[in-house]
């Protein structure tokens, strides 16, 4: 079976491990690795390294896909736009105006573009909003997945069904981002010594329960407003935004034949 995007596949596998490790982290020491090196408290640093490695792979893959001026120009300019929107919306909780644009742009320009846009815009905007921390590689991976997912929605939806699909996806994406961020944040903020911390060696279901309680609190504060805001924005702006993006797409990739043969003058 040929893997189309080997780098991205590896990066995604790394990403999944980096996100979900607290659910199944073992309690007994792994033979060969000393407990002082890899223990419940230091494991989160390792997860961070794995996530960073995933980002490095993602960067290499994105670089590979930027061979022509149109992709570079479009990706560069839209990354700046999304980052600028995040700058403006910074402050109010739940007001994250970046998602609607990433989702709509991915819908028009494809999964690969959405992936790149998600990763780069979150990285760049973090640089400007002082949002660089242990969560950044995770944010970038999650945003990249969200962008890619939006690009993978079936193309045959148009009009009302397209709008519905996008709104539903927005709600799903908002929830997904919340879960992903909480998974990643869990060991950092709940540590290993609170009642809601993950249990090394515990059963996946037990850990899952604890996680869900942890997530419940943040969901109220962040995820629900995010879902509402993003889906509302999409409802209100999808038609004109998709229109603009599609017009630009046509101008950038004109579908006319370029040169006809010389007719004998």
């Amino acid at each position: 079976m040929k893997i189309r995007f080997p780098l991205l596949t590896f990066a995604s596998i790394f990403g999944v491990i980096a996100f979900t490790w607290p659910l199944y982290f073992p309690s007994q020491s792994i033979p060969g690795i000393s407990q002082s090196f890899l223990n419940p408290t230091s494991a989160k640093w390792f997860a961070l390294t794995i996530a960073a490695a995933a980002i490095a792979l993602v960067a290499i893959e994105i670089n590979r896909g930027l061979l022509d001026s149109k992709s570079v120009a479009l990706l560069g300019v839209l990354t700046a736009l999304v980052a600028a929107l995040r700058l403006i919306g910074a402050g109010a909780i739940g007001v994250e105006p970046i998602w609607f644009l990433i989702i709509l742009a991915a819908r028009v320009f494809g999964a690969r573009f959405g992936f790149s846009l998600g990763a780069l815009s979150l990285g760049l905007s973090a640089l400007l909003t002082g949002g660089i921390g242990p969560w950044l590689p995770f944010q970038m991976i999650a945003a990249a997945w969200i962008g890619a997912g939006a690009g993978l929605l079936p193309k045959r939806f148009r009009g009302k069904s397209e709008l519905l699909a996008l709104v539903l996806y927005a709600i799903f994406a908002a929830a997904f981002f919340g879960v992903a961020m909480d998974l990643q944040l869990w060991p950092w903020i709940a540590g290993s010594d609170s009642q809601l911390s993950f249990i090394p060696g515990g059963e996946v279901s037990a850990n899952l329960d604890r996680f869900l309680v942890f997530h419940f609190a943040t969901a109220m504060a962040w995820d629900i407003p995010r879902a509402i805001f993003t889906s509302a924005l999409i409802l209100v702006t999808a038609k004109p935004v998709l229109g603009s993006l599609r017009r630009a797409n046509l101008k950038l990739n004109p579908i006319s034949p370029s040169i006809a043969q010389t007719v004998a003058s």
Partner: protein, 540 residues
């Protein structure tokens, strides 16, 4: 250097061929000027030369185009980058980085040129275009003229033989335009560069051109010496129109030439009376500024400005970039940080006006008229405007249809030409029926036809309404001011340097005089129509 053999171009979904059976040759070291109405195909012609059309922007092309022996049929624009450089209207849109020196080096980086050679070439270009003191500056902080120089430098660094320019001065003020044109002139004469230049504003450029190529509305192209082409061209600067109006045998391309040819006529005109504008005496003050000072951070943008605008006046606001024109206009709509003094529109402080109240008093068309537009089609935009302004449905559309000869209601506002976009923005503003209309650089990017239309619109605006509107125009365009404004306020460094009737102010300054004035000095004539009218009367 450049040959076109039997070239025809058509865009899919278009009703007509842009160019048909075009044959011409451009020789090395020529400066060829391409003129034509908006939409005639100047841009397409320029882009054909380096292959952007059809490889990058689409289109169906027949015929053969060769540049320095290379055919654009086989080669893509990127492969021709070492032979042809191109510079567009908005230089900053074409920049990849934010630092001058890096931007110039970018073209070399993408070719994989060795660092030592890169260094040498960049230094050469920096010296050639006098950019060395700006080398580490952020591009966004440079003036329009400086940015355009950087764009030229970025193209020149690849050592091309041909330089293409698509309306390079249309977004620039006259001084910056001078800079750019003289650089081009120097490049042609000192380096033997071949330059093809598409332009709207012909005043300064016709004397530099070796040949002119005119693209007619029907796609027909004529090429020849400037004198020949401008003789029959509907597109011509004031100086040419003046020569034609004075019935001279040949047209002249520069002020100096025309002065020499018109010695006797000037003596005749000296004795003719200057036209006076009959205006009803108006006393009602619409806008008044009293000792207004505006400060941004630590700098004063305006210092103790006082003046008044009465109902029914058309006033031009002139001055260099950075003199304070924008701050002054914005203070009239309550958007400037005023630290002292009062601004009153109809007796009210504009800062207190919001929403619909503001637009009934003052309508402001910004430099980018597109900023005001957010509809998906012209029709939709008009409906939105009706809604926003609280007027009956269809008002805006009627105004727009009256302004434009051919209103295209289904076009997307962003796809309109500059002139059409301005017309749409103006309609949106007008439907709220404001007393004061402010236009910020309205003729930027307009060709002569659109400009004349704007002049007629402005003249009608003041006369038509039964409530005597006033218009304030901030502009560099001296010819526009000569045609339309009755008073000129001149700003420099945040202070009013001149405030008086147009004729006085414009004729007293040699640098800011319209071409007609420069030719017929010391007589204070402003426009060709004035001269023609006076001659007719005297002939009777």
């Amino acid at each position: 250097m450049i040959t076109f053999k039997n070239v025809s171009l058509i865009y899919p979904n278009a009703q007509r061929t842009i160019l048909e059976a075009l044959n011409f040759e451009v020789f090395e070291g020529e400066l060829v000027l391409v003129i034509g109405h908006t939409g005639a195909g100047k841009s397409s012609l320029i882009k054909l030369i380096n292959g952007l059309v059809p490889h990058h922007t689409g289109g169906i092309l027949t015929g053969e185009i060769t540049v320095a022996g290379r055919s654009t049929r086989e080669l893509k624009p990127g492969q021709l980058s070492d032979v042809i450089g191109i510079v567009g209207q908005n230089p900053i849109n074409g920049f990849v980085t934010d630092i001058v020196e890096e931007e110039i080096a970018f073209g070399l980086e993408t070719m994989g040129i060795a660092p030592e050679i890169m260094r040498k070439r960049v230094e050469e270009v920096l010296d050639l275009l006098s950019l060395a003191p700006l080398r580490n500056r952020e591009i966004a902080t440079l003036s329009g003229g400086e940015q355009q120089r950087v764009a030229i430098g970025a193209a020149l660094v690849l050592n091309p033989k041909v330089l293409l320019l698509d309306e390079p001065t249309s977004a620039l003020d006259p001084i910056a335009a001078e800079e750019v044109l003289s650089i081009l002139h120097r490049l042609v004469h000192d380096l033997g560069l071949t330059v093809i230049l598409a332009e709207h504003r012909l005043e300064r450029v016709i004397q530099f051109a070796d040949r002119i190529m005119r693209i007619g509305d029907d796609g027909e192209v004529v090429i020849g010496k400037p004198g020949e082409i401008l003789e029959d061209s509907p597109i011509a600067p004031a100086i040419v129109n003046l020569a034609k109006a004075l019935d001279l045998s040949d047209i002249s391309l520069s002020v100096r030439e025309l002065r020499r040819r018109t010695e006797s006529i000037r003596e005749l005109l000296q004795d003719l009376p200057l036209p006076t504008k009959i205006t009803e005496s108006r006393n009602e003050i619409l806008l008044s500024l009293n000792n207004v000072s505006v400060k941004y951070d630590a700098k004063y943008a305006l210092s103790n400005i006082s003046f008044e605008i009465k109902r029914g006046e058309v006033v031009a606001l002139m001055g260099r970039n950075g003199a304070g024109k924008s701050s002054l206009l914005r203070s009239a709509v309550g958007q400037s940080p005023i630290i002292s003094g009062t601004v009153l529109i109809n007796g009210i402080d504009p800062v207190t006006l919001t929403g619909k109240n503001l637009i009934r008093h003052v309508g402001y068309v910004p430099q980018e008229p597109g900023d005001l537009l957010y509809g998906q089609s012209v029709k939709a935009e008009c409906e939105l405007a009706d809604n926003d302004n609280g007027v009956p449905v269809g008002t805006t559309q009627t105004i727009y249809e009256n302004l434009m000869a051919i209103p295209n209601l289904n076009a997307h506002p962003r796809d309109l030409s500059e002139g059409q976009r301005l017309g749409l923005a103006l309609s949106v503003i007008l439907s709220a029926n404001p007393d004061l209309i402010i236009l910020d650089e309205p003729t930027r990017g307009l060709d002569y036809v659109a400009k004349n239309k704007l002049i007629k619109i402005l003249q009608k605006l003041v006369v038509d309404s039964n409530q005597a509107r006033s218009v304030v125009i901030a502009t560099h365009d001296v010819e526009l001011v000569a045609e339309v404004a009755e008073r000129v306020i001149f700003l420099a460094e945040g202070e009013i340097v001149a405030n008086g009737p147009t004729r006085e102010v414009l004729t007293s300054s040699p640098a800011f005089a319209p071409q007609v004035t420069k030719v017929l000095a010391p007589a204070a004539w402003l426009t060709v129509s004035e001269v023609v009218a006076a001659l007719e009367v005297s002939a009777i």
